[in-house]
């Protein structure tokens, strides 16, 4: 921080030359002011994130303590998780050696999941305080003041670092009763959060759009998560390419190694340095690549409501479809490993046989499909809330002043959300089925896996319906639609590990989807899918009816 009042009080006989600035001015001048301002802007948002993540850890721990009070229970759940699907959903098998205490259970089952959210918090924080500010033009106003070139980025990174430090300290305090690894457990949160903040700092240099930068950050998180999932099932090599894998590689509460966090520190430093270096190679408000000129006129499709909506959704839709195809490929490629792993462990083989009929690959698929389904739900919420984004940006007004009705305008966006979400899901399912069929030589997976993925489509449609109702009736509360994928993630992913009561899972539309292909789609399954579809239809209708009745939000 620079001193703003350098002039000493009192009388100084030789008047200072006028060229003397009231303090040193460098590329970081004003960082402190910006940081305080950023802290004030996020005084609710970041504490909510930090509190939610800390409470999540605390309640997971409490749940472990009540559900797995006996060492025998812990050994039993450990054996269950020592399967390909179990390891893909949790963490490396090394945690299962030893007595698998509550601390080791946290490191194995909860850490990877919480770190995804820590990374998300960091990415969104950095994007919000850098690229989003530039895109809105507010950064220009500030940069015209006495502000160093790097102050904005430095303040955003400092803010993210502070948030992650606070989170790490609180999490460490929460797990302090579990023994010597508590500090390391907290440190994995801080280290991983800072890594993704630094990666986001690079992303915001590349693209001129906040939405695009957040998308790159999400892709980095998804890749890190998928690499560790594949690595943990397939021997561990790929896990060492993932920052989340490094954090889990500390074997916290099992072996307590600090050194993997050195990798995190190195990546954070490298990415941070790259971000500052890249930021001076571009203009304020611009991306790294010069903006290209486009078509002087619109294509025929652009003049139709659906074509127009599709054009706005195109980039995000393709990104999600590509991301899920990659995720599917990673899961599919370890299916073969999974089968071999089961062959080696007699206890597991018996367990699988007892489960009745389903092959190892099929049980694996039916467990991990919830991950692509939730990623698709994230897309669906983004797409279904796009009309709200357009409306609050003032871009709905000119369009709705043409002969385009409100129903057709919002309906086109919702149609893209429904069809696009289904396509994104199917893209993951098809690639998982294809790569799975190749790695296990089981051709039936080619159609079984995409079919099983499609069973999640009605739950996606209900998600879109909930977003539509919020948009139509309570546009200011639209962000509440994010609760649906978040809740499905917690219930569908952690719920089974933590032994949540079934009623909690029933509240999520994803809790009613039959777990195919391990089980057959029976009458009850069809009924559930039919009811979900009908519910989605009713919600969408209700949402559009609300939107037709209300005032447009204007600036």
């Amino acid at each position: 921080m620079t001193a703003t009042t350098a002039a000493a009080p009192g009388t100084a006989p030789p008047p200072p030359p006028r060229t003397t600035a009231p303090g040193p001015v460098g590329p970081f001048t004003g960082t402190g002011v910006l940081l305080r301002f950023a802290l004030r802007r996020d005084r609710v948002r970041l504490p909510v994130w930090i509190a939610a993540l800390t409470l999540g850890t605390a309640s997971s721990l409490a749940s472990f303590e009540s559900t797995y009070a006996d060492a025998a229970d812990r050994r039993s759940i450990g054996e269950t998780l020592n399967s390909p699907a179990g390891l893909a959903m949790t963490g490396p098998a090394r945690y299962l050696e030893g007595d698998y205490g509550f601390g080791a259970m946290l490191g194995h089952q909860v850490l990877g999941f919480v770190l995804v959210l820590v990374a998300l918090m960091s990415v969104l924080t950095v994007v919000r305080h850098t690229r989003a500010e530039e895109e809105s033009g507010r950064a220009e106003l500030l940069r015209a003041g006495v502000l160093g070139r790097h102050a904005g980025l430095a303040a955003a990174l400092a803010l993210a670092a502070l948030a992650n430090l606070a989170l790490g300290a609180l999490v460490a305090a929460t797990v302090a009763g579990e023994g010597g690894g508590a500090l390391l457990y907290g440190a994995t949160h801080t280290a991983t959060g800072v890594v993704f903040a630094a990666l986001a700092a690079v992303a915001v240099q590349i693209t001129p759009y906040a939405r695009g930068a957040a998308g790159l950050g999400l892709a980095a998180i998804g890749t890190a998560y998928a690499l560790r999932a594949v690595g943990d099932v397939g021997g561990g090599t790929l896990s060492w390419l993932s920052p989340i894998g490094w954090a889990q590689g500390t074997y916290v509460f099992a072996a307590d190694r600090w050194w993997p966090l050195l990798l995190s520190a190195a990546l954070a430093a490298g990415a941070g340095w790259a971000a500052f270096a890249l930021s001076v190679r571009r203009d304020v408000g611009a991306g790294l690549r010069a903006q290209r000129l486009g078509r002087p006129g619109g294509s025929a499709a652009l003049g139709r409501p659906l074509g127009f909506a599709l054009r706005l959704h195109r980039g995000v839709l393709l990104a999600f479809a590509g991301g899920l195809a990659l995720l599917g490929a990673m899961y599919g490629s370890i299916l073969g490993d999974a089968e071999r792993m089961i062959e080696d462990v007699e206890a597991l083989r018996e367990q699988v046989e007892r489960a009745g009929g389903a092959s190892v690959a099929e049980s694996f698929v039916s467990v991990v499909l919830i991950v692509p389904a939730i990623v698709a739900a994230v897309y669906v919420v983004m797409a279904a809330l796009r009309p709200h984004a357009e409306e609050s940006a003032g871009r709905a007004e000119p369009v709705l002043s043409t002969a385009l009705s409100r129903t057709r305008w919002a309906g086109s966006h919702l149609a893209v959300a429904l069809a696009g979400g289904t396509a994104v899901l199917l893209s993951g399912g098809l690639v998982l089925g294809l790569t799975g069929a190749l790695s296990t030589s089981d051709g039936a997976l080619l159609w079984k896996v995409p079919g099983a993925a499609l069973a999640y489509a009605p739950a996606l449609w209900v998600t879109a319906g909930i977003a539509a109702v919020l948009y139509g009736w309570l546009p200011r509360a639209c962000a509440a639609a994010w609760i649906v994928p978040a809740y499905a993630f917690v219930c569908g992913y952690l719920g089974e590990l933590l032994g949540f009561p079934g009623v909690l899972n029933d509240l999520s539309p994803f809790g009613h989807v039959p777990r195919l292909p391990a089980t057959a789609l029976d009458g009850g399954g069809w009924l559930a899918l039919g009811l979900l579809t009908a519910l989605a239809g009713a919600l969408l209708w209700l949402g559009l009816a609300g939107f037709r009745r209300r005032d447009l939000e204007t600036k």
Partner: protein
């Protein structure tokens, strides 16, 4: 000819009226944005809609577009109900907002075609002509346009259409003076083509040049409406004269206000009601006029007549 005073009941919707509103009320929370607004725009006229920021101009236009729903009162637009018949009416009108937001990834040309086609098509020749006259590069992406260029995109999209009614909400905010001249040309041509224009503005010179009639809005109500001539007639003319003999006695004359000077021979300055102008000039001539200058009220003075108290409060 009569001037619609604010107290008058709104005239019934007639064939000759493109827009009529009666007793329009719109509240946002505790703010009463429209407070019994009566506005009449005749078919084929350019109607100036004057008032400072926050007076209710944009809210009125958004109610007319069916984007907002009035709490009470009636509005008729091209013979239809702006809320219930919005889509059908929008085929016949075009709108330029005061603060145009474009899609960051669409070019200006794409945005023009998008808006035009969603309305039902636009005239390619007129589009090309307008792009050239407004000196707009249609190949640039929305996010790279300046404020003025974003306005141009919306203006071109609106004027290249066959709309019979143009709703323009401070359309030239951010345009340079050169483009302002082009805009005035284009609006006069639209008027010659028989289009009706509602032009919300606070650029008084623009209104004076373009508008047949004006309505002045204050705190959600129309406080005065009529042609500029009618309004001038209702307003005081300023007289500055040099007389041979002291003309202070003029102050006693009915309709003469704000008299300064006149106690000795020489300068005298006063304002006089439009209806009393004749009597005042006759009286003045009795003091031996050496020179005489009369200023008709400017639009600015017409505005200040309604807003003088607010101005005084801010000074």
């Amino acid at each position: 000819m009569t001037t619609e005073a604010p107290t008058d009941a709104a005239p019934p919707p007639a064939a000759g009226h493109a827009i009529t509103t009666a007793g329009l009320v719109k509240t946002f929370g505790t703010t009463r944005a429209l407070d019994g607004l009566d506005l009449t725009v005749r078919t084929g006229e350019v109607h100036g809609f004057l008032g400072p920021n926050g007076a209710g101009k944009s809210t009125t236009i958004r109610v007319l577009l069916g984007l907002l729903r009035a709490d009470s009162g009636t509005a008729t637009l091209l013979g239809g109900d702006p809320w219930a018949d919005a889509v059908a009416l929008h085929r016949r009108l075009a709108y330029v907002p005061g603060d145009v937001e474009l899609w960051p990834t669409l070019t200006g040309g794409e945005a023009i075609d998008l808006l035009g086609r969603l309305r039902g098509g636009l005239d390619a020749r007129r589009r090309a002509d307008l792009i050239e006259r407004f000196d707009l590069d249609p190949t640039k992406k929305g996010r790279t346009y300046s404020k003025g260029n974003r306005q141009k995109v919306a203006i071109v999209a609106a004027l290249a259409s066959d709309a019979e009614l143009l709703l323009l909400d401070e359309p030239t905010a951010g345009l340079d003076p050169l483009m302002e001249v082009v805009f005035q040309d284009v609006i006069l041509r639209a008027k010659a083509d028989g289009k009706t224009v509602l032009l919300s503005s606070h650029i008084l010179a623009q209104v004076e040049k373009l508008c047949d009639r004006v309505s002045i809005i204050r705190r959600g109500r129309i406080v005065q409406s009529g042609t500029l001539d009618e309004m001038r007639h209702l307003t005081r003319t300023t007289i500055e004269a040099v007389t041979e003999r002291p003309a202070a006695a003029l102050a006693a004359l009915d309709g003469v206000h704000d008299l300064t000077g006149g106690d000795t021979a020489g300068q005298v300055r006063f304002t006089v009601d439009g209806a009393r102008l004749d009597a005042a000039v006759r009286e003045l001539s009795g003091y031996g006029i050496r020179s005489l200058v009369s200023h008709p009220p400017t639009l600015e003075e017409l505005m200040l007549r309604h807003y003088g108290d607010e101005l005084a409060a801010h000074r």
